[in-house]
Each structure stands twice: as structure tokens, then as C-alpha cells.
Symmetry: C2
Subunit: 338 residues, 2 copies
């Protein structure tokens, strides 16, 4: 295992690998001389420089793009917090395998390799309203699965998840680590009704009481209040940092999965971009807490890396412009008048 203990993760997050400032500077200089007013491609320019910084190449590439979707089940589902039964997690994983889900279609359009990893779907985490969802070993095992899912030669990784009841888990982590009551973080997820939303909030409030001592320890909170697929997402993001791979974060659950890392080190997500802001009500506030500015705002709320997958297309457009455009000199185009 990459991390044998919570302390190993803490140590990694104290001494995070950094991006390549030289490559980023070279990419930014190139953007200044391409045949367009400087800055006029907006965030596409920023994406090109970001790729350069984290790939360590002034001319980045997108030959191997990986979409990693992790699936897990949640004991708290028994509290009636979701509109769908827990069996849907496994049914959707089967749908991914047969190519019938949204992310299969999006991965095809985006030219990405889809890796779906189900993590002990027949062994849900414990219901955190009564006991810690995972112990440290269970948590580390899920982190390791996520870490090993990322091909070290990926040029870009998009992370997402599938897990009935996991917006409850995500809201739980946010409430424990960022403060605010259940009402701030719990939304309708897949479309729970008013009664279900009330049960969701009650479960979170109960667990906040039960586990109050954990809020100062991000990793212990991630184990006791999180989920296997959330831990795997954190593991994948740590692997990407180790291997210098830029990351696109999907929606509310994927973002919440990274709060423990951000609490360990405010720079832990510097190699990541928020792909989109989802329609799940608390996502915008969560992104704000983490200083992430989403690239898309399309009212999506599906998870399974669907928003991050669509955003790969923007990154491809950004790189195509960066790599393929002529400079003012090459094209014989006059610059701005002095």
C-alpha cells in the first residue's frame, strides 16, 4: 500500500509535490503571442497553463485521459435518505459495464478511458448515526484502491462516483469539517422528497453529535463519516499529485471527498480544477470554501463523473488552441497598435 497509516497520508500532505513553474511560464508566454488579443480565450488559456504546470510540459498533451468512477454503498441508506434503493448502486455499475450510462457516452465523446471500480458493494459502510462508517484500515484500503486506479502515465484524470445515499455522506463530511448545520449541506441529491430530506438532515445532526470529537482530525472524520468511494477519490487525487497529473473534480460528492485533504493542506488541490458546479444545492458553497471556481454551470446533478467528463472537452479545446494556433509573427498579423 502507498499509505500504511493515516500518518503516512498526513506526511505526504505536508510535503506535496509541486507543479513546474517553468513550464507554466513558457505556456503563458506562448498564449501572449498567439493570433488573438491576449486573454481573449478566457479560461481556455488558464486551462492550457494549468496543464503545462502539472504535466511539466510547456506543450502539454492529452493522449491518455482517464475517467475514474468509484462506487460504494452506505449504511446510512437504511435511514431512508435517498429516493432510490441501495440496490441501484450495483445495478448502475452493471449499466456502466454494459455501456448504457451517461458517463459511457460522455467518455466516448471525450476520448477518455473509463475505469469503474466498485468497492465492496455487498459490504456497505456502517451507519454513521450509530457507529464509525469505517475503521482506519477500511479507509486506507479504499484510499489505496483509488490510488492504484490512476495510470501513472495519464495526462489528465477526471474523478467521480456512484453510491446511493452518498450525498448524505458528502454533506456529513462537509458539516463535520467545514462547520454549519445539516441544513447548510444537505440537499435533494437524486431527488428525495421533503420527508426524505428531513430524514437526511436528522441523520447528519445525529451523527454530528455522536462524532463531534472528530471534527479536528480530517482523516479520522473521513473514515468515520465518509464512504469507500469518497476515500478512493481522495486516493486517486493523491496519486495524481504524486505522478504530476492534472485532475478534474466532478460534482458535490467528489468535491466533498477532497475536503479532508484540503483541511490537511490548503494547497492539496492545486493540481485540481472544479469541472462544474452541480445543481445539488450545497455544491456552490462548498466550492467557495475550497477556493475552486467551476468551469461549467449546466444544472447537472448526476454524478458518475458526468460533469467532469464533459469538461474534458473544454480541456481538449484549450489544448488544441494552445498547440495549433499560429503566432502573430508566423501568421503575419499586426499586433495591437501602440
Amino acid at each position: 500500500m502507498q499509505f500504511d497509516s493515516l500518518d503516512d497520508i498526513r506526511a505526504f500532505c505536508r510535503e506535496l509535490p509541486d507543479g513546474d513553474a517553468g513550464a507554466a511560464d513558457a505556456a503563458a508566454r506562448r498564449q501572449q503571442v498567439l493570433t488573438k488579443p491576449p486573454g481573449s480565450l478566457g479560461r481556455l488559456e488558464e486551462l492550457a497553463v494549468w496543464l503545462a504546470r502539472w504535466q511539466g510540459r510547456a506543450m502539454p498533451r492529452l493522449e491518455r485521459v482517464t475517467i475514474a468512477v468509484f462506487a460504494g454503498n452506505h449504511g446510512v441508506a437504511a435511514r431512508g435518505v435517498s429516493a432510490y434503493p441501495p440496490a441501484v448502486t450495483g445495478q448502475m455499475v452493471a449499466n456502466f459495464a454494459r455501456g448504457g450510462a451517461a458517463i459511457n457516452q460522455i467518455a466516448g465523446v471525450a476520448g477518455a478511458d473509463l475505469r469503474v471500480v466498485n468497492i465492496e458493494l455487498d459490504r456497505p459502510t456502517r451507519d454513521f448515526t450509530v457507529a464509525p462508517a469505517m475503521d482506519a484500515d477500511e479507509f486506507l484500503n479504499a484510499v489505496d484502491i483509488g490510488y492504484r486506479t490512476v495510470p501513472p502515465d495519464s495526462d489528465l484524470v477526471a474523478v467521480g462516483e456512484m453510491g446511493i445515499a452518498n450525498t448524505t455522506t458528502a454533506a456529513m463530511l462537509c458539516a463535520a469539517l467545514l462547520g454549519g448545520d445539516a441544513g447548510r449541506w444537505a440537499g435533494r441529491g437524486t431527488g428525495v422528497d421533503d420527508a426524505g430530506l428531513a430524514r437526511k438532515r436528522a441523520a447528519i445532526e445525529t451523527a454530528l453529535d455522536v462524532h463531534r470529537a472528530l471534527s479536528g482530525d480530517p482523516l479520522r472524520a473521513a473514515a468515520a463519516l465518509g464512504g469507500r468511494e469518497l476515500a478512493a477519490i481522495a486516493g486517486a487525487v493523491l496519486a495524481a499529485r504524486q505522478h504530476k497529473i492534472p485532475v478534474l473534480i466532478d460534482g458535490f460528492v467528489a468535491t466533498a471527498a477532497l475536503v479532508p485533504l484540503a483541511r490537511l493542506n490548503a494547497g492539496a488541490l492545486d493540481h485540481c480544477r472544479a469541472a462544474h458546479v452541480s445543481a445539488e444545492s450545497a455544491h456552490r458553497a462548498l466550492l467557495g470554501e475550497l477556493g475552486l471556481v467551476p468551469l461549467l454551470d449546466l444544472g447537472m446533478r448526476l454524478g458518475e463523473a458526468s460533469g467532469a467528463g464533459v469538461t474534458i472537452l473544454l480541456v481538449r479545446a484549450a489544448l488544441a488552441c494552445h498547440a495549433g494556433m499560429a503566432t502573430f509573427t508566423e501568421a503575419g498579423v499586426s499586433g495591437a497598435e501602440p
Copy 2:
């Protein structure tokens, strides 16, 4: 010519071809049974239904996607309203032809055919601060060029432009047809400095005085205060309506080009979507006036259909999901609990 007189355009806009409600309804019903919570793909679902409505096919297609970029020159450039000299319009058209511009790279990623049409670049419109920019025949000729540029069998058309000084022209049309002074509509375009911005506003204020009588006549205003590439964009959008082709509108100039049509008939742009909101300061307000909600907000301000080109990628993702996803029944996935 499709339109021999301004009255011909007025007549077309009184009796606009409508979309196919049956195809749209069928597409919307399909979205309800695909393996995702209903609505969870957000605006991607809306795009699929929009394609269905305007293509008249419950299962739309994107085999032939056209990007139409129109280029023109502007007499008002002599007023010092742009950061770049007018020669850049032609230089950039040459850059398009050689494949060195942003839109060439974006068209490649988006799988679109790029058509660049330069309209009498060596004969700028007249400076509208002293005379009508175009007479009715010149305007109709440009509309016709735009109309004929759209292949009738296109599945989607993206419209954009290139023309030094044309954010001045666009702001001019907005001020004349939507009200408000030059300060409301004039922004920095390609990056004009404070003195240039002051000259831009002064030119618009002068022309508002000179041509005040035209504000009640959208088409006469479009001739006297517009530009050839703007007229061509309007022509392309009329052709798309005639041939039942959905349209993606690029940025501030492309949107302003369509204000005259929207003034003739509030439903004239129903087959269009605003691809993005640009960084040009007045674009957001203009979209609001027209009831258009942009799909992207990436701080782009390049023109040349670059924002619309990137948005084609979103439409492709939307169609891939619509066409390729399994239904709940096909996949054996449980629906929401009652």
C-alpha cells in the same frame, strides 16, 4: 436572392416556420426513462430536446455541423475605436485560410466544417457617424451572402464574425434598438484603452443623434448602423429557420446582429441558443434583453465563433447521452421509490 427587399424579410419574420412539437415531446419523454434521475443532466437534456424540436427528429443527429464566420470592415474604424488596425481583418481571414486561428483548432476538435466568408473587405461600410453605413441593397446583399452560406442539410450551425471595430457597430445597434446610451453598450472589445473607449462612446453618441429617426425600424437601423458581417449573420439565422436547423450564437457581436430580427418578432430566435456569455461587458445585459441564457461562461471575448465552436462539444455530449444511454427497463435498473 432570397429576400429582394426589406419588406420580404419583414414578411418572413411575420410567419416564421415553427419547430416540431411532436419530436420535442418524444425526445423529452425519452429523457425521462434514461438511466439517470429525471433532469439530472441539466441543460444537456434541454439541448437534446432543442435539437429534436428544430431538426424535427425525436432522435436528432449531428453529422453535418457548420461553423459560419463572416468578416467585414467598418468605416467607423477610422474614428480610432479599436486597439487593432483595420488591416487585421484581412490578415486574420488569411490566418483562417491557413488554419492558424483559434476557430480552426476548435472546429477540428468539434468535428465541424468551417466556412469563412469575407464580405468586401476592401470596401468598408461608411462611417455611420456621418452617413448610413449601408443602403438597403448593400444590406440585402450581405444578408443574402449569409443566407446562402448555410448548407440546407446542416444539422447544427454556429455563427460568428471577424471585423476590426465591430464591437462599436454592435454596441451601436444595441443602443439604437434597445435603448440606453453608449456607456451601456460600449466595452473594450479587443482591448481598447481608456482614450479609445471614449472615442468609441463618442462615435456612438454622435451616430445616435444623426440617425435617431431609425430606432423604430429595425431593418433600416441594421443597414444604416450595422455591418456586412452582422447582416450576414442575420441572413444565416434566417436560412437556418427556413431549413429547420438549430443555431448556436457566438458572442456580443453575433448576438447584436440578431437584435433586428428579435425586434421584428420576439420568437425569431427560438431556434437559437446563446453559446456563451463573453467577457465583453455588455453581452450579459444583451442576452438578458433577448431572453437568452448562455451555456458557457468562460471569460472568452475573441469572436470568430470561438465560443459557439466550443459549445458544439456540449451539444455533442448531450446528443451522445440522448442517443446512447440505456433506459431503466433496458438496463434493469430500479426507478425511484414511490
